[in-house]
Homo-oligomer: 351 residues x 2
Amino acid sequence: MQSPRPRVTIRDVADHVGVHPSTVSRVLNPATRGRITSKIVKKVLSAADELDYRPNKTAQGLRTNRSRSVGVLIPDITNPLFPPIIRGVEDALAEEGYTAVLGNTDNLAERERDAVATMRARQVDGLILATARKDDPIVADCVSDRLPVVLVNRSSDVPGISSVVNDDALGIAQAVSHLKGLGHSRIAHIAGPQALSTGEVRRRSFYDAMAREDLIAEDDLVVETRAFSVDEGLRAASELIASGRIFTAIVASNDLLALGAYEAIDDAGLACPGDVSVTGFNDMPFVDRVAPPLTTIRIPQYEMGREAARRLLQLLETPDFPAHATTLQPELIVRGSTTRVRNVNLAINRN
Amino acid sequence: MQSPRPRVTIRDVADHVGVHPSTVSRVLNPATRGRITSKIVKKVLSAADELDYRPNKTAQGLRTNRSRSVGVLIPDITNPLFPPIIRGVEDALAEEGYTAVLGNTDNLAERERDAVATMRARQVDGLILATARKDDPIVADCVSDRLPVVLVNRSSDVPGISSVVNDDALGIAQAVSHLKGLGHSRIAHIAGPQALSTGEVRRRSFYDAMAREDLIAEDDLVVETRAFSVDEGLRAASELIASGRIFTAIVASNDLLALGAYEAIDDAGLACPGDVSVTGFNDMPFVDRVAPPLTTIRIPQYEMGREAARRLLQLLETPDFPAHATTLQPELIVRGSTTRVRNVNLAINRN
DNA sequence: TCATTCTGTGCAATCGTTTGCACAATGATC
DNA sequence: GATCATTGTGCAAACGATTGCACAGAATGA
């Protein structure tokens, strides 16, 4: 058993060399190192090395009021959409010596509020939010408190805030146009929660894209969900099928909803893509391996994370840097869940 | 534009009430609150509330030398095995007001070392490592520095260290016994890296289980990989097939390797499970949706995370709490990738 | 040679809390 | 009514770093 090993402080290094702690501090800070005689610099550096000195970030943080850490809030790390984003964030932060502190909110406003409070208590220098609602008071609070914030994946109506999102309108347009190219005209949409920018934008884009393709978007074929989950996708698609309305394809607002649609189609004794083509959104890991492999819209998740982190770092350097919404380009990935339309009378036949 | 809004300190609260800062501190700390007159307690509390006082964790951390945060090191958050574990860790930590600081190491010793150093500089109170190697000098360092550490998922040979792992031997035994029950006798094993406890234990367990089932484990049918990845699974299975040896089933050391085996089987013009049955390990999210749905060993990932966090919290309270290895029970999940043996001459036929 | 500018280092205050100790005020005891 | 615990609060020193300011001593110029 060893003793708790006394921490070596800047003072220990100073004593060891025979200089004042402030001198050591200046040597250790690259920005002020130039002000110290190189002979002393060398001595201090080697003493620090010898004693295995590690700066105490807590003390630094207290004095400088900067923690070099940022809070990253996501709905649920268990949702495969987020890990790549987080990884991108972390990698970009690490390059500048910053650390990410993670928080899951489960899309609950209350937990979101808690999480932000926790982060702020921990003196994070800024926040990256993947949790923003369209009109989010929490985001507004941060802005008015001048806490640097960048939104990722979702955007918000709160003005003056930077965001890094995917071009959802383009993605949906790609999906619709792909389906039309396969001969589909009666296309249903499983929409995500309308309180989330992604859900709302994609739904709106669906109508737009249908119109642009000269197709009729029937309101009865657009069903809204309460969450981006497999269960809700199952529910929505079952409803769609049960309604007896005619459709040969489903554009789902994300991959999870699409997987739910798979189940509903299966439950109804139908086949995908034989009876119903399905498109997803996000190209989550492993959706290329499900049966059938999912045709979906790939969004650059890792890059989104990186970009968001870079924007935040920039904001930390230059607090008045103007807000900017970055949108990244998605890509249609055609796989096995979509096929040329065969039987347009699906729904009628079933009745 | 608002001004940066001056921070409310304990001193502001004290002045507002007309007491000394130390009194406020005592009121705010539930443990010492009892020492203060209840009338003052009330006044302080309402003043704190009114002024929206938030304790500065950094200052607290400096003074108390406890950050109420713990470092969580994992190989790669993008690997579906880890999110549930992380979630479990976070949830358990949050219950006690602790925060998790995440780090990805990509299984690189150097990054691992860096990450630990970063964590320690940030004054984490303890570490949860999902990255441990069998004989890990980093882990040993932590132990000798008396930094509380708990290993999760993997264990280590370093003595005196707590770990929460799955009962891998039992899991492999379940897989082998399941396959034997389906008539398989020539069973191959795609082993994970032998420097990782999971890879090594599962391999050893494979031999043990085969022996117990009175089956012959041929060394030529056990191939080792350099990483737990789809690519390595593909490589290993291709090698196995190319060798011309007879086998009708593969026990893969984890799901990713199993998915790689799927590809190899497909590439060789064979079918799973028709020609080769495959079992995975971990029951990662969505492997129930791949084609064919993977028969695998489910390990209680979320619970593993929770349990590891709880152990660590206990260790923080009672530093001399004796080390203990907790093993959780896995469960065989039978799905579509395993079936009764049909053609025992697979390999021979192919030559 | 002396006044003046530079340069490099030391001094001490500060960041926001916590906590051992001192010490008034109160109540109990004889 | 003096003595002694007891209780509640204040005081001040930490924790480990950073940084504005002061000030020696060297370098420069007249």
